[in-house]
């Protein structure tokens, strides 16, 4: 989509923008939380006047809980003597996630590939408006270019913000993003042609960088599946793994779930909740038989799913390169090294 109109908002004016948006949407921003014993950035409701801090990298948790709540009620039912009535959950309000990094925004598009027929997920993509925020600095765990994204990527966003020379260039990416920008037109100045040129040049330089990397998806697709599967690397990678769910739960593109019924006093609901292929019971049959009973099989499945099975099916990795799994892994299992060893 071409830019109809881009705005230019001074860095110190960002609160004004947030306050205006907060009138029409339920706005969420990453906030520095001191709820637990340590401080970290986490998504939270914006209240007029809250600080909007720009920090390096991504919040602790990805935005997937907005698309894929933990847990999500699929429907409610009542257990009566002779009948079981089903009720679908009610609609939710429009939300706006403000300050979503390009990697996290891109995860919405990637998850939509397997979820294309999932009405719950699709509904959430309609309910959540995404205001992206380009990255000016990278963390030592970032690898979005390798994963097919860009620090200035706009995939998955409705509006994209880029901080250049102490001003945000605010671009409309989707039609609904454009409509929001139109309502702001009389409150903020329009970006000049030279601003746009600067923005485009910066974006093009990242694009060039990405293209200089020999397409890893293509390289993986050319590899024989069973040869990758049988590589000895999986034993080495998995040795230190403690088989916890940190990587899968913090990952924006890990989308596996389990379904269960919860009941109390004759009322019940069928919920789906995050599950992790790292857990032994993930694949265990009712008979006790387990196709991935060993730790290295589960570790292998996580990486093979993201870096081989998924790209074979959808021509893209199920990974946006946000680096959370690397940062948070207690034993430093690094997906970049795994990818390198697979290539």
């Amino acid at each position: 989509m071409t830019l109809s109109k881009a705005l230019k908002i001074a860095e110190n004016e960002i609160k004004n923008l947030l306050n205006i948006l907060n009138d029409s949407f339920q706005v969420f921003i990453p906030k520095l939380k001191e709820k637990t014993s340590y401080k970290f950035y986490e998504w939270d409701i914006y209240n007029n006047g809250d600080e909007f801090n720009i920090f390096i990298g991504v919040p602790k948790s990805s935005i997937k809980s907005f698309f894929f709540p933990q847990p999500e009620t699929l429907f409610k039912f009542s257990i009566q003597k002779d009948t079981t009535a089903l009720k679908e959950p009610e609609e939710e309000n429009k939300r706006m996630l403000f300050g979503v990094r390009p990697c996290d925004a891109r995860s919405i598009i990637l998850n939509k590939l397997p979820y294309s027929e999932d009405s719950y997920y699709i509904k959430k993509t309609e309910q959540n408006i995404i205001i992206g925020l380009s990255c000016n600095e990278r963390r030592n765990s970032c690898f979005c270019l390798w994963a097919g994204g860009s620090p200035m990527g706009t995939e998955g966003t409705d509006i994209s913000l880029t901080l250049i020379d102490a001003s945000f260039i605010v671009e409309a990416i989707t039609e609904r993003g454009g409509k929001i920008i139109e309502t702001l037109g009389d409150k903020f100045p329009v970006a000049s042609t030279s601003d746009i040129e600067k923005l485009n040049a910066l974006r093009a330089s990242y694009e060039k960088q990405r293209q200089s990397i020999p397409d890893p998806v293509k390289k993986i697709q050319d590899k024989n599946l069973l040869e990758l599967y049988d590589k000895p690397l999986w034993n080495d990678v998995s040795l230190s793994c403690i088989n916890c769910g940190i990587c899968t739960f913090l990952c924006p593109t890990c989308y596996c779930f389990d379904i269960q019924d919860e009941t109390s006093k004759g009322q019940g609901k069928r919920i789906r909740f995050w599950d992790s292929c790292m857990f032994p019971l993930f694949t265990q049959h009712a008979t006790g038989h387990n196709p991935r009973g060993a730790k290295h099989q589960r570790v292998r499945n996580r990486f093979m799913h993201k870096l081989k099975y998924f790209p074979d099916r959808y021509n893209v990795f199920s990974c946006v390169g946000c680096g959370r799994c690397i940062k948070e892994c207690p034993v430093n299992i690094d997906i970049r090294e795994v990818l390198r060893d697979m290539l």
Binding site: L32, S37, K60, P71, L239, L250
Partner: protein, 332 residues
């Protein structure tokens, strides 16, 4: 790593001893640590031959309890012993594993090392919220933290883990060989001071504190999985026949998980702090187990894993076991 003579001395002695163990054909692998791709991180590592020895590292971020890996690795390498480096708490966990039949003493060659206390990397990153730490240089008593546009020196002891600060047993309790010298028992004024603070709270404040801690739990079970005591084939949180616990992220479910996990470790926990170190959300769940450690000590006079011949307090019945809690109930 200049001026880091203490850790460097440990590492060079470690490497020399491991080399000898391989050369003498005593071990088929040595469990230690290798360097990581990010600062303040570490990789548990099994050196399988002499060539691998160069990959071994030793620093203050070795917070993973290696005893956790031993039973599984030994199962897969039956022919010879597996060597492992062990500080005070890790060696005590090996003792508990032996007492509980998870491990045989003869299957493991323990290279003991007295612990200087490990650093809590969250204590460091907490001082630089929103910034990116790119380099961490460790000296004997100073840690230098560097990122784009900042460089700061921190006293090592200021960011040392809570469990290490109140640890009375830095020395390994069982070992086949030693690296460096034993430090002797540390005299701690009150090793339960962190618990006393909580115990003094009013019940509702206490509950508030507890809920605040567990509120961020994402139920990844890293705390459980990093713990050498948690080896049940199927944990009660995962069990589906019957299902004890719901799967939602709710205070009731999360609270039951953390409370039961802690109780399951009573009389067995060595306060190694691995659970807290691996928690991605910064939950101080070590305090839950520490409280039970205190109770066990006060009731039975025992600390876990100090003496291989000492019976486990909660699985051994003695005729004169204190049963004050029952008496108290009767009085009420």
């Amino acid at each position: 790593m200049e001026n880091n003579s203490l850790n460097n001395n440990i590492l060079s002695e470690l490497k020399a001893k491991v080399l000898k163990l391989f050369q003498d054909g005593i071990i088929s692998g040595f469990l230690g640590f290798a360097s990581a791709s990010l600062p303040m991180s570490i990789r548990p590592f099994l050196a399988k031959n002499e060539k691998d020895i160069d990959k071994l590292v030793w620093n203050s971020f070795c917070t993973i309890n290696l005893a956790n890996y031993l039973p599984e690795i030994i199962k897969q390498n039956k022919d010879k012993k597996i060597g492992a480096i062990a500080t005070g708490c890790w060696s005590r966990n090996i003792v508990v594993q032996i007492q509980e039949g998870q491990l045989k003493r003869d299957d493991v060659y323990i290279l003991g090392v007295s612990s200087r206390g490990m650093i809590n990397s969250k204590n460091i990153s907490d001082r630089f919220p929103g910034k990116e730490i790119l380099h961490v240089k460790e000296e004997d008593h100073i840690v230098t933290i560097e990122g784009r546009g900042f460089s700061e020196q921190i006293k090592r002891w200021d960011v040392t883990r809570d469990n290490c600060k109140t640890c009375a047993h830095p020395d390994p309790v069982i070992y086949d060989d030693l690296i460096g010298n034993l430090a002797g028992k540390r005299s701690i004024n009150n090793k339960y001071s962190q618990i006393d603070v909580i115990e003094e709270m009013e019940p509702d404040k206490k509950w508030e504190w507890f809920l605040k801690e567990i509120d961020k739990c994402i139920r990844c079970y890293a705390c459980r999985n990093a713990c050498p005591l948690c080896y049940c084939n199927t944990c009660f949180v995962d069990d589906s026949k019957p299902q004890w616990l719901g799967k939602s992220i709710k205070h009731t479910e999360t609270a039951i998980f953390h409370i039961l996990r802690a109780y399951h470790c009573a009389g067995r926990c060595t306060d190694c702090g691995a659970c807290e170190s691996v928690c991605p959300m910064g939950i101080k769940m070590r305090l839950f187990t520490k409280k039970l450690e205190k109770d066990v000590f006060n009731l039975f006079g025992v600390e876990a894993g100090l003496d291989i011949n000492e019976p486990l307090p909660l699985t051994t019945y003695k005729i004169d076991d204190p049963e004050d809690f029952i008496l108290k109930l009767e009085k009420e």
